[in-house]
């Protein structure tokens, strides 16, 4: 074999991520490995990711945290035994997409896009899955709770950051993430509604 023995730090990062039960950030790796330089850790991660890219398992970064997972093209071999993913209802799927593409977003905003009220359980299902969290309140009358996605959401759907959401740029460019009234005003040249950016109060999030 001509894969020369990897450097000690590369081996250490490899072993640590392999053994970890949760994805790990560069910070967590650095501190676990005795306060290594973060730049060195990053270099090791890059080296490992490159090493694994053609193998049966890959090293991936999601929401700034790294983990190993099986290669997607082998799904058919692994899927057989374990169907671990819960099937989401269509409503939950839509609500999740709306939250992901519009976050942070209130329930009323979700409902105005979907044209139906959201059943109580739908948001609960998404929060229980760990993909959605309450992210504060919007500072408008009624102070509605606003929702956003979590790092686990990005992890589950294989997204490095929210910017990787499929089609996000196109949707944004087409104005399809803007409210109907804004789009209308833009189309009809009535663009006087420079709505001040909503003042959202974040909820402190315990990790």
């Amino acid at each position: 074999m001509n894969d020369d023995k990897p450097e000690p730090l590369v081996r250490a990062v490899e072993a640590t991520l392999f053994a970890a039960e949760e994805p790990m950030s560069v910070d967590a790796l650095a501190s676990h490995l005795g306060d290594e330089e973060k730049a060195t850790i990053r270099a090791a991660l890059r080296q490992l990711a490159a090493h694994y890219q053609d193998r049966g398992i890959h090293l991936v970064e999601r929401s700034k945290r790294w983990h190993f997972q099986t290669a997607a093209d082998l799904a058919h071999l692994l899927r057989t035994e374990r169907e671990q993913v819960r099937r989401l209802s269509r409503a939950a799927t839509e609500v999740l997409a709306i939250i992901a593409y519009h976050e942070p977003v209130s329930r009323a905003e979700i409902e105005s896009i979907r044209g139906v009220q959201t059943a109580k359980g739908t948001l609960d299902v998404l929060m229980e899955a760990g993909w959605v969290r309450a992210a504060g309140r919007r500072e408008v009358p009624g102070r509605p709770v606003i929702y956003a996605t979590t790092p686990e959401f990005l992890e589950h759907f294989g997204l490095q950051t929210r910017r990787d959401l499929p089609g996000l740029d196109e949707l944004r460019a087409a104005g399809l993430l803007d409210p109907v009234d804004d789009a209308y005003n833009l189309l009809t040249g009535l663009d006087d509604t420079d709505a001040p950016a909503a003042d959202d109060t974040p909820i402190e999030q315990a990790d």
């Binding site: 640590t16 392999f18 053994a19 970890a20 039960e21 676990h32 890959h58 983990h67 190993f68 997972q69 099986t70 290669a71 997607a72 799904a75 692994l78 899927r79 374990r82 671990q84 993913v85 099937r87 989401l88 209802s89 269509r90 409503a91 939950a92 799927t93 839509e94 999740l96 997409a97 709306i98 992901a100 593409y101 409902e111 105005s112 896009i113 979907r114 044209g115 139906v116 009220q117 959201t118 059943a119 359980g121 739908t122 992890e155 589950h156 759907f157 294989g158 997204l159 959401l165 499929p166 089609g167 949707l171 087409a174 399809l176 109907v180 009234d181 789009a183 209308y184 189309l187 009809t188």
Partner: protein
């Protein structure tokens, strides 16, 4: 009225939040009647489906055609005596209103104009359509537990925390000193202090005022050669005595500047009168 007002409860009648049955967007013969209303999450959803069947870009749909399709759909459902959820009927009524206003001559238009309502409906359908596609693309990604798998039996990382306690020699003996000091029997002593009482100051100041008619500073009334602590007490008492004599009309007080010397003299009978 705007389409934003058309909000229907989910999970009621035709609108349902259960696992998608999948009939909704199926490509049936164009106007064939769906019996599975369960396929739609509400009138907007049905409208979107009908709009899609115009097989054009959502930006180019004909709202009038769409209204006709929807109303036609509702009519046929009623003809078949199908129980339609109220929200579908409300949408039908709103669309009928929209259609009639769109056909009315321009000058009779109210605000908002039917064009505005139609355009906003179209924008809403575009947005719902965009999210539906986004959701589908999201669900089609390589998902953990379905397409990619994480390690089945990770060893897990364990971190044992150990505390290294710190204390230095000085803190130690200082601690002992504090215990000793705190628990030592305390002896309190009250010391005698030389003071001039207000009464004696009153006597002294009024006697001295009787001797002269000239202004005198307050300091001149103090006992000479008094030790500092007695002097401070005498100053305070003499000041209060001076105020008291002025109140009784027996003396007048003057001070030229703020914090300047305080001067005092006897008030003569003449001046009082």
């Amino acid at each position: 009225m705007s389409t934003g007002d058309l909000m229907f409860p989910e999970g009621q009648g035709a609108s349902t939040d259960t696992e998608w049955i999948g009939a909704g967007a199926a490509d049936t013969e164009d106007n064939a009647l769906y019996l599975e209303l369960d396929g739609w999450a509400g009138p907007l959803d049905l409208l979107l489906d009908l709009a899609r069947r115009q097989k054009v870009d959502l930006r180019a749909i004909s709202i009038l055609d769409l209204v006709d399709q929807y109303l036609n759909y509702i009519d046929r459902a009623e003809a078949l005596k199908l129980e339609l959820a109220a929200d579908y009927l409300v949408m039908a009524a709103w669309l009928a209103f929209l259609k009639s206003s769109m056909l009315l001559p321009k000058e009779e238009q109210e605000d908002p104009s039917p064009e505005e309502l139609a355009l906003k409906l179209q924008l809403r359908l575009q947005r719902l359509g965009a999210m539906r596609e986004a959701a589908a693309r999201l669900m089609a990604r390589d998902r953990i537990g379905r397409d990619v798998f994480i390690r089945g039996a990770p060893e897990g990382l364990r971190t044992d925390r150990k505390t290294q306690w710190q204390c230095d020699w000085y803190a130690l003996i200082q601690g002992y000193g504090q215990v000793k000091a705190r628990t030592a029997p305390a002896v309190h002593m009250v010391r005698e202090r030389p003071v001039m009482t207000l009464d004696s100051a009153l006597d002294r100041v009024s006697n001295m005022l009787g001797v002269t008619l000239d202004w005198m500073t307050l300091e001149e009334f103090l006992p000479p050669h008094a030790e500092p602590r007695l002097r401070r007490s005498a100053l305070a008492s003499s000041f209060v005595a001076a105020l008291e004599l002025a109140r009784m009309g027996k003396a007048e007080i003057a001070q030229d500047d703020i914090f300047g010397p305080l001067r005092l003299r006897r008030l003569t009978e003449r001046a009082t009168a």
